[in-house]
């Protein structure tokens, strides 16, 4: 049986996918994940999930974010200096996300 492994670097972080292991049960899956994925990488916590329990949808199935121009959804569209630092921080995150989306769409990534 295959188990997908998610690692959290430090407390409070997100668990992100880092690989998978073969194991007959959850306990051994955790043990193997520990050995294979958490020996050298900084690790605070691991999750294992049976592969069959994971659902997936990808770009072959859908166009994430739709296919029409949705620039009205982005902070960058509104051409004002951000009113406060937290607004600026949000705009920076959005600009970065949009840039990454474009890079992936253009095949640069």
């Amino acid at each position: 049986m295959i188990w997908e492994v998610f690692r959290q670097k430090k407390a409070g972080d997100y668990h992100t996918h880092c690989g998978n292991v073969h194991a007959p049960d959850r306990e051994m899956a955790l043990l193997f994940a520990e050995v294979q994925h958490a020996r050298r990488m900084p690790t605070n916590s691991l999750w294992v999930v049976p592969k069959d329990e994971i659902g997936e949808v990808d770009t072959e199935d859908v166009a994430f974010g739709g296919t029409t121009d949705k620039s009205y959804r982005w902070a960058m569209t509104y051409n004002f200096e951000a009113a406060a630092e937290e607004v600026a921080a949000s705009e920076d995150e959005q600009a970065e996300a949009e840039q990454q989306r474009r890079a992936v769409a253009d095949g640069d990534d």
Partner: protein, 315 residues
């Protein structure tokens, strides 16, 4: 974990559902996150009619995107609240419908005209964002994670709100006057957004000791005014005379809090303010109208997975 340990460890993102948290912590966190979630939902319902009333296609698209975002934030937050094990999402949504669920003062007031929309979308959302940015460091990890996504999206709301305000304040004389009138109506409510001064706040002490709340009402209000008063003035809005606001030598502001209508505020806080009851009932009717969607989803889940009661998997 005992309460003393919680207070010692109370740092950003310190506690998660795998920690055994004392009931006092779980109840305080539930109260706070449920209030936040309810406010997202009630804010969305307040703004929803203006999707239809938007004056242009761009505004209509942006406004519907914003309302959709806010409802999504509500769902994220109910999940974060549910993870404390005190109430399920269904219970919280029912409480909101039957008038027990509490939410932000500003969303109890009806919004009648398009010129009022930037008062919410710029000032109230700006105030909310100030507060939410500090909650990225709350001690309940699922709440902090919800704030990551909320803050990511919220920058668009505030900047779109500013675009609407700019449009009105550079428009016709009539538009400017109407915007000023709306500002005067909303200004005291916006200042009250941050709640009573620290001295009178009933829940702050504990929430702060256990790291749920990172900044006090007064600190947040001050930071908001320091940023948004100059913005209002820049667009030509006149700050109303009440409450008295004094400018300090260092450019910061002091507000005469006691000039505000706190009787109305506390009436609102108890869900006893008449116009607010209309807002609550309006949402309740909307919830009832889509009961068939929830029921068909529940029965589908029942068919697939049987009767296992698991709030974690309920959505």
């Amino acid at each position: 974990m005992d309460l003393e340990t919680v207070k010692e460890r109370a740092g950003p993102r310190e506690f998660s559902p795998k920690d055994e948290m004392p009931e006092e912590y779980r109840k305080a966190a539930t109260r706070m996150i449920q209030f936040h979630a309810n406010s997202e939902i009630m804010g969305a319902y307040l703004e929803r009619p203006f999707i239809r009333q938007a004056p242009s296609l761009e505004r209509k698209l942006a406004f519907s995107a914003k309302v959709q975002d806010e409802l999504g934030h509500g769902q994220l937050l109910y999940r974060a609240a549910e993870s404390l094990g005190i109430k399920t999402r269904d219970e919280m949504l029912d409480e909101l419908a039957n008038g027990q669920g509490k939410f932000l003062n500003c969303f109890h007031y009806p919004m009648e005209s398009w010129v009022e929309t930037p008062m919410i979308a710029f000032f109230v959302d700006g105030a909310a964002m100030r507060r939410q940015a500090t909650l990225k460091s709350t001690s309940w990890e699922p709440y902090a994670h919800a704030m990551d996504k909320v803050c990511f999206e919220e920058g668009f709301h505030v900047k779109h709100g500013e675009a609407m305000l700019h449009e009105l304040m550079t428009g016709s004389k009539k538009e400017q006057e109407m915007a000023q009138e709306a500002f005067e109506k909303w200004w005291p409510r916006i200042i009250q957004f941050f709640g009573p001064t620290d001295k009178q706040s009933t829940h702050h002490g504990f929430a702060s000791e256990v790291g749920l709340k990172q900044k006090s009402n007064d600190e947040l209000r001050r930071a908001f005014l320091n940023t948004y008063i100059p913005k209002a003035e820049k667009y030509g809005l006149e700050i109303p005379d009440t409450p008295t606001i004094e400018k300090n030598d260092d450019g910061t502001y002091n507000v005469a809090e006691d000039e505000l209508n706190w009787d109305e505020f506390f009436q609102i806080a108890k869900n006893e303010y008449e116009p607010g009851l209309g807002q609550i009932d309006g949402r309740k009717k909307a919830q009832e109208a889509v009961a068939w969607v929830r029921e068909s989803m529940d029965s589908h889940e029942q068919r697939l997975y049987g009767g296992g009661e698991s709030p974690q998997a309920a959505d």
